[in-house]
C-alpha cells in the first residue's frame, strides 16, 4: 500500500463523515479564532467579546442538539417542519451523524453516549457564558482571553467524552486542564488566585505525568491504544496464565490502570487526589468554580466509564475476579471520598470552599454508580444473573450517573452563580456575611430562595432533582448488593453521608433565612435580569424532581446508557 493510497483512504474514507459529526467542535474553534482576530483588528471595543462567545456557543449547542435529535429519531422520520431545514443546514446525513461508529480512523467515537455528554457540555457552556455576562467577570479588556480559555477547555472536554483511543484520552484531559489552570488564576491581582492556580498546575502536571506513564504501560503491553482492542488483547495475553500477582503481565496491567485512574481521579477530585480542589475553588472566581465543578467532572466521568469498560471488556473468564475487585476498590474510594468531603465541609466559613468540599462528596456519590457498574458487568453472571439482567442492571447504573450529572449541572451552577452574584453586591463570600440576606426585598429574596432550592437539592431532598438522581444511584448500587455485600454497605454509608451533609448545607441557609439582618447594612438593588437568570437555571432542578419531564430524562438516559452494553 503506497502512501498516496493511505492518504486517499483517509480523505475519502471517513473524513467527510468525521467532519460532519465534529462540526460543533469546529464551530467552537472558529469562535475562538474570531475572538482572537477581533483583538488583532481592534474590533473588541466595538463588538463586546461576550457577544461573539455567546453566539458561538449557542450555535454549537444548536448543532449538537440537532445531531442528538437526528440521531435519536433517525432523522428523516421526524415531523418537525423546521427541523428538516435545520438538519439540511448542518448537512446531517443518515450515514454520517445518523449512524454510530468510529471517527477519524478510530480516534474518536460517535454514539448516543458521547452525544449526550457533548449536548450537556455545550448547553452548560451557554449558561456559563450568560452568567459571566451578568457578573461582569471578565471585563471587556480580558474578554477575548477569557472566552478563548473557556471555549478551548470545553472543546477539550468534548474531545475527552468522545475519546476512543488512549492518545485521545490523554489529549482530552490535557486540553481541558491546561486552560482551566489559567482560568483559576484569572484574577491576576489577587494573591490567593495566583496561589490557587499554582497549586492546581503543579498537582495537575504531576498527575498528568503519572497518567501518561500508565497509558504507555498499557499501550506497550497490549500493543494497541484503541479502546475497542484493549479488552480482547488483555484476555488473549492473560489466557491461561492465571490472574495472580506473580504474573508480570497482570502486574503491569494493574499498574497501568491504576496510574490512569490517578489522572482521572485528579480531575474528579477523589480522595486522596483532592487537595487542589478547595484551594483552587476558593481562589478562583465563583463562575470558574461552577464551570470546573460541573463540566470537567462530567467529562472525566464519561472518560472513566469508557476507559473502564474498554479495559474490562474481556468477555468473562479469569479476569472477571480482577475486574470485580477493581469495582469494589472504586466503591471503597467512593465511600472514603464522600465521607471525607462531607466531614471536611463542616469547618468551612467560606461558601466557595464549602461548595468545593461538597463537590468532592458528590464525586463520591457518582463514583458509586461506576463501581456498581463494574461489579455488575463482571460478576453478575457467575452469581446467577441472566444476560438481560446484567445489561439492564449496568445500564441503570450509568443512567443514574447521567441523571445525577444532569441535575448536578443545574444545582451546582445555581449555587455558584448565586455566590458570584451576591459577591458582586456584598463583596464577600463568607457565610457570616450572608446573614439575613433573604430579608432584603426583591431580587435578593429570589436569589436566596433559589439558593435554598439548590442546597436542598444538593442535600438530596424531594421534590428536587437531587433526590431523584440520588435515588437512582442508590437503587442501582443496592441492586448490585446481591452480588457483593459491599455494595449494600456502600448504600448505607451513602445514606449516612446524606445525614452528615445536612449540617453544612443548612448552615448557609440558616445564615440567609434565620439569622437576623445586621444593623446598618445598605439595601441591595439588583437587576431583574439577574433574578430571571437564576430562576431559569433553578427551575429545572424542580422539574427534574417532580414533573413528568423526569420520565423523559430518565428514559433518555436509560437509552443512552444501554448503548454501552450491547
Amino acid at each position: 500500500m503506497s502512501v498516496s493510497e493511505i492518504l486517499n483512504g483517509l480523505i475519502y474514507g471517513d473524513l467527510t463523515r468525521s467532519i460532519e459529526v465534529f462540526c460543533p467542535e469546529v464551530l467552537l474553534c472558529v469562535t475562538v479564532i474570531v475572538l482572537l482576530l477581533l483583538r488583532l483588528f481592534s474590533l473588541d471595543h466595538k463588538i463586546p467579546p461576550y457577544v461573539i462567545a455567546l453566539g458561538g456557543s449557542v450555535v454549537a449547542f444548536v448543532a449538537v442538539l440537532l445531531q442528538f435529535v437526528f440521531f435519536t429519531t433517525g432523522g428523516a422520520e421526524t415531523n418537525l417542519g423546521a427541523g428538516e431545514t435545520l438538519f439540511s443546514l448542518f448537512q446531517l446525513t443518515e450515514a454520517g451523524v445518523g449512524s454510530p461508529g468510529e471517527l477519524f480512523t478510530g480516534l474518536l467515537m460517535h454514539d448516543a453516549f458521547t452525544l449526550f455528554f457533548r449536548l450537556g457540555l455545550t448547553f452548560f457552556l451557554v449558561l456559563v457564558v450568560a452568567l459571566t455576562v451578568l457578573t461582569g467577570i471578565p471585563d471587556n479588556e480580558d474578554g477575548p482571553d477569557f472566552y478563548t480559555l473557556l471555549i478551548g477547555s470545553t472543546i477539550g472536554m468534548m474531545v475527552a467524552t468522545s475519546a476512543n483511543h488512549l492518545l485521545m484520552l490523554f489529549l482530552g484531559v490535557e486540553m481541558m486542564s491546561v486552560p482551566s489552570y489559567v482560568m483559576v488564576g484569572f484574577l491576576k491581582g489577587r494573591r490567593s488566585s495566583s496561589e490557587a492556580a499554582l497549586k492546581y498546575v503543579v498537582y495537575g502536571a504531576g498527575t498528568a505525568g503519572i497518567m501518561l506513564y500508565g497509558l504507555s504501560l498499557i499501550a506497550g503491553l497490549l500493543g494497541t491504544a484503541e479502546f475497542a482492542e484493549l479488552g480482547p488483547r488483555l484476555a488473549y495475553l492473560i489466557d491461561g496464565d492465571g490472574v495472580t500477582l506473580s504474573n508480570p503481565n497482570i502486574v503491569v496491567t494493574l499498574l497501568g490502570v491504576m496510574m490512569v485512574l490517578v489522572g482521572l481521579a485528579f480531575k474528579l477530585s477523589l480522595v486522596p487526589f483532592h487537595f487542589w480542589c478547595p484551594d483552587a475553588f476558593e481562589g478562583a472566581p465563583a463562575e470558574i468554580g461552577g464551570f470546573l465543578s460541573v463540566a470537567s467532572k462530567a467529562a472525566a466521568f464519561a472518560l472513566l466509564v469508557r476507559f473502564l469498560l474498554a479495559m474490562t471488556a474481556s468477555g468473562g473468564g479469569e479476569l472477571e475476579s480482577l475486574n470485580l475487585y477493581l469495582g469494589l476498590a472504586l466503591g471503597v474510594m467512593a465511600a472514603v471520598t464522600m465521607t471525607f468531603g462531607n466531614l471536611a465541609a463542616y469547618g468551612q466559613t467560606n461558601v466557595k470552599r464549602l461548595l468545593a468540599y461538597s463537590t468532592i462528596a458528590h464525586a463520591g456519590y457518582m463514583l458509586m454508580a461506576v463501581s456498581a457498574m463494574l461489579v455488575i458487568t463482571n460478576a453478575a453472571e457467575s452469581s446467577g444473573w441472566s444476560a438481560a439482567q446484567v445489561q439492564d442492571g449496568a445500564a441503570r447504573c450509568v443512567e443514574g450517573l447521567m441523571y445525577y450529572l444532569a441535575v448536578y449541572l443545574f444545582m451546582n451552577l445555581a449555587a455558584f452563580a448565586i455566590v458570584a452574584l451576591i459577591r458582586n453586591e456584598t463583596f464577600s463570600e463568607e457565610i457570616e456575611d450572608y446573614n439575613g440576606l433573604a430579608h432584603h426585598s426583591g431580587t435578593m429574596t429570589v436569589l436566596c430562595v433559589c439558593m435554598g432550592v439548590a442546597m436542598f437539592s444538593l442535600l438530596g431532598m424531594p421534590p428536587f432533582g437531587g433526590f431523584f438522581a440520588k435515588l437512582l444511584i442508590f437503587a442501582s448500587v443496592w441492586n448490585a448488593g446481591s452480588i457483593h455485600w459491599l455494595m449494600w454497605a456502600l448504600v448505607v454509608i451513602a445514606g449516612l453521608n446524606t445525614i452528615f451533609s445536612l449540617f453544612y448545607y443548612l448552615r448557609v441557609l440558616k445564615a440567609m433565612f434565620i439569622a437576623p439582618r445586621p444593623e446598618g447594612v445598605r439595601s441591595i438593588n439588583m437587576s431583574g435580569l439577574v433574578g430571571a437568570y437564576v430562576v431559569v437555571i433553578t427551575l429545572p432542578i424542580l422539574l427534574m424532581g417532580a414533573s413528568p419531564l423526569q420520565n423523559n430524562l430518565s428514559a433518555t438516559a436509560r437509552y443512552v446508557a444501554s448503548v454501552l452494553f450491547p
Binding site: H439, L471, L496, I514
Partner: protein
C-alpha cells in the same frame, strides 16, 4: 349504594394540590396587602377542607379496599406511578388534616413577621401532609413525606421562639435519619418484589402488600425492614427513645405550627406504621409485637412523668403528646398468636386495639391541637409560659377558661370526651394480649389525670394572676373563640358518638388484621420449610 361521582378521580389530587395553588396565588399580592394574603390563605385551606369533606361524602363505608383510586404512570422505567387512593384508615386522617390546617390558619393571625413567606410555606406543608395520607406508591409517599420537612424547618426556624435554630435543625436531623432508613427499606422492597411479580420491581404499595400477604418477602428481610421502617416512623410518632426532638420543636414553634405538629404530623408516624410497616412486614410486626407494646406502655408512663415535671406550659403539653401517642403504639401491636401454630388468637380484640389506636390519633389530633392553641392564646397576651406564674385566669377570662378546661379534660380522657374512647379501647385490647402491660398502661391514666388537673389548678384556678403583664389579659376575640369552639365541640361529639369515625374505619381495619394474620402465617410457613430443608 350509588354515589354521585363529581370528579371522583380528581378529588384526591385537588385535596393535595389546592394548597399549592394557593401558595402560588399569594405571590401575586402586593407586599402591603397582608390582610388580603391571610384571608386568601384561609380561603384555600377552607376549600381544601371542603374537598376532604367531599371525599367523605363520596366514600363508601361498606368497602374495605381502596377507593377513588387514581393511577398515572409517572416514571415507567422505574415503575413509579402517581397513585392515590383512600380507605377507612386514611380518610379520617385526611379530614383531620383539612380541619386542623384550617383552624391553624385561623390561629395564624398572630404571625406578623414575613407574612407572605409564612403563609406560602404553611400551604406547601399542607400539600405534603395531604399527599402522605393519600399516596399509594411508596416513592410518592416518600416524596410527600420529605416535602413536608422543608417548610417545617423554616416555619420553626424563622418564626419560632428564642431557641428556634436548635429546635429546627434537631427536628430536621431526626426526620432525615428516619427518612434515610425508610429509603433503604424502600429499596429492599423494590428489589425484593421482583421475584414475586416475575421480574418487575414495583413501588406500588398495594402490590407490595399483596406480595407480603402471600409470604413473598423472606422472614429475615421482613424483620430487618420492619425495624428500619419502625424507627423511621417512631421518630415521627414519637415513641421513647426517639422523642427528644419533640419537646424542643413544639416549644419553639409558633402556636399554629405547634397545632399542626401535634395535630397532624405526629399522626404520620402512626399512619406510616399502619399503612406501610405493618402490611409490608407482617412477620416483622409479629416478631416485634411485644417490644412495641412494651415500648408503648413505657412511653405512656415516661411521657406522663416527664409532663408532670415541667414548668413550661408548652413543654408540658408536648410531653403529654409522647404519653398519648403511646396508646397508639400499644393499640396497633396487641397481636396475639398461638406460638406453636402461628394462628392469630382473638383477632377481634386486636382489631379493637387498632380501631382504638386510630381513634386515639384523631382524638389526640383534636385535643392536643386544642391544648397548644389554648396555650398560644395566653402566650400571645402575657408572653410567658411559666406554669408557676399563672393562676386565677378563670376569673379574668372566664369564657376562654371554660373552653380550655373542656379541651384539657378531653386530653385527660374524661368519659364523654374524645380522649376516653381511644384510651379505653386500646387498654381493653391490651388486656387480651398481656394483663400486666394493660395494668401499667391503665395506671398511666391516673398520671395523666394528675398532671392535667394540676395544670388546671395552677393556671386557671387560684385566687389571682400574679405574673407579668396582667393588663394584657383581655377576653378572647371572635376568631380565637371560633377555633376553640370547633375543637371543644368536636371533642364532645366524638366522645359521645364515636361511631362517626368508627363507621369509617371498621371495615378497612378488619381487612387489615385479617391480611396481616394471613401474611404472617404464609411467611412463617415458608420460613419453616426452609428450616426443615436446612435441617435435612
Amino acid at each position: 349504594m350509588e354515589h354521585i361521582s363529581i370528579n371522583e378521580t380528581a378529588l384526591l389530587s385537588i385535596a393535595i394540590f389546592l394548597p399549592t395553588v394557593g401558595a402560588l396565588a399569594l405571590m401575586f399580592f402586593d407586599k402591603a396587602a397582608i390582610e388580603g394574603m391571610r384571608v386568601t390563605a384561609l380561603v384555600f385551606t377552607g376549600l381544601t377542607f371542603l374537598a376532604t369533606l367531599a371525599i367523605w361524602y363520596q366514600f363508601d363505608t361498606s368497602v374495605a379496599e381502596m377507593q377513588m383510586q387514581t393511577s398515572y404512570a409517572w416514571i415507567p422505567g422505574w415503575n413509579i406511578n402517581y397513585q392515590l387512593g383512600v380507605d377507612g384508615i386514611s380518610l379520617p386522617l385526611v379530614i383531620l388534616t383539612g380541619l386542623i390546617s384550617m383552624l391553624a390558619m385561623m390561629a395564624s393571625w398572630s404571625i406578623t413577621k414575613y407574612v407572605r413567606g409564612y403563609l406560602m410555606l404553611f400551604l406547601i406543608l399542607e400539600t405534603g401532609m395531604m399527599g402522605v395520607f393519600l399516596a399509594l406508591d411508596f416513592f410518592l409517599f416518600y416524596v410527600f413525606w420529605e416535602v413536608m420537612l422543608l417548610p417545617m424547618y423554616f416555619l420553626i426556624g424563622v418564626w419560632g421562639g428564642p431557641r428556634r435554630e436548635y429546635a429546627a435543625i434537631k427536628f430536621f436531623l431526626y426526620t432525615l435519619v428516619g427518612g434515610v432508613l425508610m429509603l433503604i427499606a424502600m429499596l429492599m422492597f423494590y428489589f425484593g418484589s421482583a421475584e414475586a411479580t416475575g421480574g418487575e420491581s414495583v413501588f406500588n404499595l398495594l402490590t407490595l402488600m399483596e406480595i407480603a400477604k402471600e409470604g413473598g418477602f423472606s422472614t429475615t428481610m421482613q424483620t430487618t425492614a420492619f425495624i428500619m421502617l419502625f424507627i423511621g416512623f417512631a421518630i415521627k410518632l414519637p415513641a421513647f427513645p426517639f422523642h427528644t426532638w419533640l419537646p424542643d420543636a413544639h416549644v419553639e414553634a409558633p402556636t399554629p405550627i405547634s397545632m399542626i405538629l401535634a395535630g397532624v404530623l405526629l399522626k404520620m408516624g402512626g399512619y406510616g406504621i399502619i399503612r406501610i410497616a405493618m402490611p409490608l412486614c407482617p412477620y416483622g410486626t409479629q416478631y416485634a409485637a411485644y417490644a412495641l407494646v412494651a415500648l408503648g406502655v413505657f412511653s405512656i408512663i415516661y411521657g406522663a412523668f416527664a409532663a408532670m415535671a415541667q414548668t413550661d406550659f408548652k413543654r408540658l403539653v408536648a410531653y403529654s403528646s409522647v404519653s398519648h401517642m403511646g396508646y397508639v403504639l400499644i393499640g396497633l401491636a396487641v397481636w396475639k398468636i398461638n406460638e406453636s401454630t402461628g394462628a392469630t388468637m382473638g383477632n377481634d380484640y386486636w382489631a379493637m386495639g387498632v380501631n382504638g389506636a386510630m381513634f386515639q390519633m384523631l382524638a389526640h389530633g383534636i385535643s392536643s391541637a386544642g391544648m397548644f392553641f389554648m396555650v398560644g392564646v395566653i402566650y400571645d397576651r402575657v408572653h410567658h409560659r411559666d406554669l408557676n406564674k399563672f393562676g386565677g385566669l378563670m376569673q379574668i377570662m372566664p369564657h376562654y377558661s371554660a373552653l380550655a378546661v373542656v379541651i384539657f379534660f378531653a386530653g385527660l380522657g374524661l368519659p364523654g370526651l374524645c380522649g376516653f374512647i381511644g384510651e379505653v379501647m386500646t387498654v381493653l385490647a391490651t388486656w387480651n394480649y398481656s394483663p400486666l402491660l394493660a395494668i401499667i398502661a391503665a395506671a398511666g391514666v391516673i398520671l395523666t389525670a394528675g398532671y392535667i388537673l394540676w395544670t388546671i389548678q395552677r393556671v386557671y384556678l387560684g385566687p389571682e394572676y400574679k405574673g407579668p403583664h396582667p393588663e394584657a389579659l383581655l377576653p378572647i376575640n371572635g376568631r380565637e373563640a371560633t377555633v376553640a369552639y370547633v375543637l371543644a365541640i368536636l371533642a364532645i361529639v366524638l366522645g359521645v358518638y364515636p361511631e362517626i369515625m368508627f363507621g369509617l374505619m371498621r371495615e378497612s381495619i378488619a381487612n387489615l388484621t385479617v391480611n396481616l394474620a394471613e401474611g404472617y402465617e404464609a411467611a412463617r410457613g415458608l420460613g419453616e420449610q426452609v428450616g426443615v430443608l436446612i435441617n435435612r
